[in-house]
Amino acid sequence: MSRPENVAPAQYYYNSEEAEKYTSNSRIIEVQAHMSQRAIELLQLPSSGCLVLDLGCGSGLSGSELSDSGHFWIGMDISPSMLLVALDREAEGDLMLADIGNGFHFAPGCFDGCISISAIQWLCNAEKASHNPYKRFSNLFNSLYKALARGARAVFQFYPAHPQQIEIITQSAVKAGFMADMVIDFPESTKAKKYYLILHTGSKSGYMNPMPLNDEDEVKVSKRKIVKKEKHVKCKNKSKEWIINKKERQRKQGKEIRPDTKYTGRKRHDRF
């Protein structure tokens, strides 16, 4: 499956069409809800009524789970379209348009926790010549460390493209002062496998060491699904020409298609 972060920068990829599609897909809604619930469980917040930061909050699917757990959240996202969908859905949290790779500044220690669901793999790409992924992760984690209360935690669910990414992200967090743990749910399954990076601002005493989920049944189900999917996806490497032609065909069919930009079909660099 192609990785969205290799298609275009997030603020272009998640345009209004994609933001709507993302938020009305029942499969996506379900998967994001599950992962968000799992991240909240891994946070082990001290009580209800906490203030939680949601990094890459998108249209508020992850935030809904925070609200349902009785917390208030502040969400940041780089895609205006995703945030507009969040407004449409009457997201209960407060929203902000921001690039988390640039860092952010809040009153020191004001957040009781932080979650980030399916977002930080986007930071691994250098979207502009001036972007350096190492720098952007360090901006992110340094800001986060300051904004979290001592003893608070952050849980990042993300999709690493390769093992070195995990290494680099973890090291960057540790450099910023965090203690880092990784929980991998459904490690046997290519599809259901999920990575959760848990960052602690203080000592881990009092934190119940989480067990990775490993539900045999769930793994079987998702394996069956993958086999089916892979037959479909066996696609040739999509060249810029191929994409532009396809878009042209779809336009002729009267479909609403994103205009071609300099990002169309561009192979984008991953500096790690």
């Binding site: 009580s47 009785g70 205006p80 407004l87 921001a98 690039d99 640039n102 004001c110 502009k128």
Partner: protein
């Protein structure tokens, strides 16, 4: 943007870190929501607030609050309800946040502050 967020948010420029609180709020359009009173949440947020800044911004919007907050105030139900309303129900739909240190202005549109930086401002 709610007043809670205003009370916690700082200028996004690295050069301003630490000396840029609070951002001056110019509210052009405000809506009042009607979320259910949540005592636990309100009490927890009080511990995070910069009361002076909160007092000032509430005052500028026509809400008078006590100069100081005492620990007993946590049990003052009427005050807690008012604070809940101010923190969570007042939403600034459009306006500007301006850093008092560097003068950078961040527009608020549809209730969403735009904290994006220009290339030249990036950290």
């Amino acid at each position: 943007m709610r007043l809670l967020t205003h009370n916690l948010l700082m200028c996004n420029l690295k050069t301003c870190a630490g000396q840029n609180f609070p951002l001056a709020l110019q509210a052009n359009e405000i809506s009042e929501e009607n979320t259910e009173f949540n005592l636990v949440l309100t009490q927890k947020m009080l511990g995070k607030l910069d009361w002076k800044a909160f007092h000032r911004v509430a005052d500028s919007l026509g809400h008078t609050l006590p100069e100081e907050l005492t620990p007993e105030d946590q049990n003052n139900d009427e005050l807690m309800q008012r604070l809940h309303h101010l923190l969570f129900n007042i939403v600034v739909l459009s306006g500007t946040l301006t850093c008092q240190s560097c003068g950078r202005a961040y527009p608020i549109d549809k209730g969403i502050p735009n904290m994006l930086l220009e290339d030249s401002e990036e950290a």
